[in-house]
Amino acid sequence: MAQNDTKSNHINNSARLQPANLECKNLHDYLKTRSPAVLERLYNHPTICLAVYRELPELARQYVIRILFVEQPVPQAVIASWGHQKYAKEHSHVCNVLSELSVWQEASIRGGLAGWLLSPTFKRNLKIALLGGGKPWTMSSALDPDNKARDVAFLDAYSAERWECVLHYMVGSQQQEGISADAVRILLHAGLMKRDEEDGSPVITRQGFQFLLLDRQAQVWHFILQYLDTVEQRGLDLVECLTFLFQLSFSTLGKDYSTEGMSAGLLIFLQHLREFGLVYQRKRKAGRFYPTRLALNITCLQDKGAIVLEEDTPKGYIIVETNYRIYAYTDSNLQVALIGLFTELLYRFPNVVVGVLTRDSVRQALKGGITADQIIGYLTQHAHTQMLTNETKSPLPLTVIDQIKLWELERNRLVYSEGVLYSQFLSQADFNVLKEYAQTSGYLIWCNKEKRTMVVSKAGHDDVKKFWKRYSKGN
């Protein structure tokens, strides 16, 4: 019997036409990639435990809080019985997440039952965060009242200005000054910008455009993650920085905090954060700083839709009509430029820009690597309050949403998958056996009975090959 698999050809699919899109990790994804040792060190800080807890899935939060005061391991079966049978899938997912993050560990109980036990470090520090005890956080030394206290409005204006500075720099608007070489380095590192081949000046990449369309919080989080990647090169301690970052995220807006007792490394970190507008400091050596809205709840990526109850959040400015017209009440060049990414601009007035979504304009954006969801997300997130007044429906006209999605689907008529070709079977029976096996294992991508040809996914190739060897030996 001829060795079919030796003749199998690797379909060359390395030239993936789908470009790498901007990958936006949330805290969970980020921590998953850290080693357990780092996690253990991180969990020594109540702030991080707090942040991790908040990012857990709903059900996981309930599980953790239920066993927070229990000192002994709880049988896994008991925990499984807390959820309804209908949601068993979710339960197993949740258990997975908790194990992945080392929030709990498996422990055996008398009688051979498997149980879960909260990580002692995590438990202790979450309790501290919730109920008190332990050491105060680094930044909360007592302070005399600031004689030049800054109010929330000032901080908002300041942070917006700082952050937009970065964004403006990315799109190459006129405001070139005010951004440090350090920030540029991070932008380059994150792949949001790249050096132009001719003159070496940084230009924005497709990921950069996608970045621009994210909401502000996601932008900050993504940017900070990229920054954290470089933190160790700068000689700073990752855990220390992360802890401080989360402390910042749990601070109160409009309140001043002391820099007393901060290490030299942290002071450098603080200066970087100051540059991006996450904190406000009047002078480098002022001894106090104010966190801004950008720093607050930095990890809240999951709930994009949730609108904070506070009245002073920035208002949306875009009105989308069912006839695909877009009215953007803004005078910011940046926002105009962003809208221009996927619309055909018609008129420009001092306070409003009118554009229209056309197939061409949207396809242009899609070609640039922006996804339909990003466009829709941007429009939704900046929708004018008038668009939000009808409660139940989506703020955007459904026709427009559907059409944008359809325009995207138009482009995705081909799906690429890597695979291995099996051909020249000696008999139909052989072919059938192998096809059957590949199909039931879920590796089969394509097959043709007449030509006795099949394509197996790359992941399944080894398995199928093994099976074939076993099978042909048996014959």
């Binding site: 066993i67 005061f69 229990v70 000192e71 309790k127 005890g133």
Partner: protein, 553 residues
């Protein structure tokens, strides 16, 4: 066995059946064979029992004919005419041909019955289930089933369906299809033709005159749809054709109708003017003479006429039936109506309008006499405000007591300023584990959870099965209980029969189901069939009692 009333259609001698020679008879109801020199029929099959007939192929030594019955039994006849194979084949063919003409007649009858039953079963899922459960498991026989259990279904079939009137839109519903080359194709069914005839007697008259003597049916309808008559309200085609006369007849009819008048005073069929609704509400549109008259008038006239025709079509039917009763009611009533004085009609109209514009529930009662209303005097109103609990455990404190209480609490608050209690006092681990045990399913505070979810625990298919069991058992039981008190011997017989059926049901359906339950979901096996068993036992007990009494008697 043959009765004199039976007509013998064909008699073929020299037919051998199972080594006996005899004569084959084809009668109007059955096929029969009689042994030679005997006078009793040994083989007799009703045509309705015969499924098919088969003949031996040409060129075979034996010339044979076989009839196969519905129940699978077959009889083979061997033709042995001494005049040779030719004659034998001729004999056989005569029989075959006659059978061929006879069988379908009977077959249809059987088929229709079967078809009817099939249709009944497929349109009533509950009945089908019952059929599956009772007949297929041989708890009751098929005949019994149809006679007793499905009687209300079959009965419903037999009642005369209500006469369906003519849809007002029947003409508009005939949708022409373009045939691709500048023509239109109308599909008309027998129903539509019936409707057309009903509503347009003039057309019917024409049809009788012309079809099929002068033209074919298809031609007639083509002409009809092409005619100006059909397209009357459209403005083109003023040609003369076969239906021009119809228009005139219709006009006359219409006039007569208008003269007769319509009983409903709110309908004005003499008015052919196009009026918008807001006229008469203070706005007066001056008539533009002649411009919009013809087309819209014709249209209104046509609509009115069509409506009259449609109404009449259904009325004719009732008139006919009353005519059949031998009463010339229609004519007499017409006379009565004619002779009714003018004032009466006026009154009638008034009444009718009154009826339309007054709403009973909006009327204020006119009984002025009962004006003195009784004032409702309530005392102890506060009793309404009390809750459904034996109240009165409220204690009032004297200032002294209150001061003591407040002081004690304040003492407590003083301690808050100093320090908070450590968390392990807040909830000690033992208490936490205790609460965990109580609140986990099965714990003290979760009582009631199990019973409640019992319903959720039953898989859907089991639930369905239980429902089917109930359906069949209730059907059987209802027949069983209906026999009591047994006044006639037939009823007594039926009781015994039903009892047997119930027992068969118990053994064939319920027992296996219970076994399955125990195997598959033991915890609730008895809950599910408990009630079914109760029902069964009740009927058994009743039966035993009845038998005991009967034996004593």
């Amino acid at each position: 066995m043959t009765t004199s009333s039976e007509e013998i259609l064909l008699q073929v001698p020299h037919v051998r059946y199972k080594k006996g020679d005899g004569t084959l008879y084809l009668m109007d109801q059955r096929i029969a064979w009689m042994m030679e020199n005997r006078d009793t029929v040994s083989i007799s099959h009703h045509y309705s029992d015969i499924k098919t007939q088969k003949i031996s192929p040409e060129g075979k030594a034996k010339v044979q004919l076989q009839v196969v019955l519905h129940n699978g039994v077959s009889s083979t006849f061997h033709f042995i005419n001494r005049n040779g194979t030719q004659a034998q084949a001729a004999d056989r063919d005569r029989v075959k041909e006659l059978l061929q003409t006879l069988l379908p007649k009977f077959k249809r009858k059987v088929d229709r019955e079967l078809e009817e039953k099939n249709r009944l079963l497929s349109s009533n899922p509950a009945l089908l289930q019952l059929y599956k459960d009772l007949v297929m498991t041989e708890i009751v026989t098929s005949e019994e089933f149809w006679a007793q259990h499905a009687s209300q279904y079959t009965k419903a079939q037999n009642t005369q369906p209500q006469e369906i009137g003519v849809s007002g839109a029947f003409l508009a519903d005939i949708k022409p299809q373009t045939d691709g080359c500048n023509g239109l194709k109308y599909n008309i069914t027998a129903d539509i033709i019936e409707s057309i005839f009903k509503t347009y007697p003039a057309v019917k008259k024409k049809y009788i005159e012309h079809v099929p003597s002068k033209m074919s049916e298809a031609q007639f309808w083509t002409k009809f749809f092409q005619s100006h008559y059909f397209h009357r309200d459209r403005k083109y085609a003023e040609s003369k054709d076969l239906f021009t006369e119809c228009g005139k007849i219709d006009d006359q009819e219409m006039k007569r109708d208008i003269q007769d008048g319509v009983k409903d005073p709110l309908v004005d069929i003499t008015s052919f003017e196009d009026k918008s609704l807001d006229e008469g509400y203070g706005t007066e549109v001056e008539k533009l003479p002649g411009t919009f008259g013809t087309v819209s008038q014709a249209m209104i006239k046509r609509f009115n006429q069509h409506s009259i025709m449609v109404l009449k079509a259904s009325k004719n039917k009732t008139d006919q039936t009353s005519d059949q009763n031998g009463l010339q009611e229609s004519s007499t009533s017409a006379k009565v109506k004619d002779s009714r004085p003018e004032g009466d009609e006026h009154l009638n109209k008034k009444l009718r309008i009154q009826e339309k514009i007054t709403y009973e529930d909006l009327e204020i009662s006119n009984d002025k006499s009962d004006n003195s209303k009784i004032q409702l005097n309530l005392s102890k109103v506060e009793r309404y405000l009390h809750g459904p609990m034996p109240g009165g455990n409220v204690e009032q404190f004297s200032p002294n007591e209150a001061a003591i209480l407040t002081r004690a609490v304040l003492q407590e608050t003083k301690q808050w300023q100093n320090s908070r209690q450590p968390s392990n006092i807040l909830v000690n681990p033992a208490a936490a584990v205790g609460a965990l045990g109580e609140l986990s399913p099965g714990g003290a505070l979760m009582r009631g959870f199990q019973e409640q979810s019992l319903a959720q625990l039953v898989p859907a298919d089991i639930e369905k099965e239980v429902r089917h069991l109930y359906l069949s058992l209730c059907e059987l039981l209802s027949h069983f209980w209906k026999c009591f008190p047994p006044t006639t011997p037939q009823l007594e017989q039926k009781i015994v029969k039903m009892h047997e059926a119930i027992q068969r049901f118990h053994a064939a359906k319920l027992k296996p189901f219970e076994d399955k339950l125990i195997r598959e979901l033991s915890p609730l096996s008895h809950h599910l069939t408990k009630h079914l068993n109760q029902l069964l036992n009740a009927s058994y007990q009743k039966f035993n009692n009845w038998q005991k009494i009967k034996n004593i008697r």
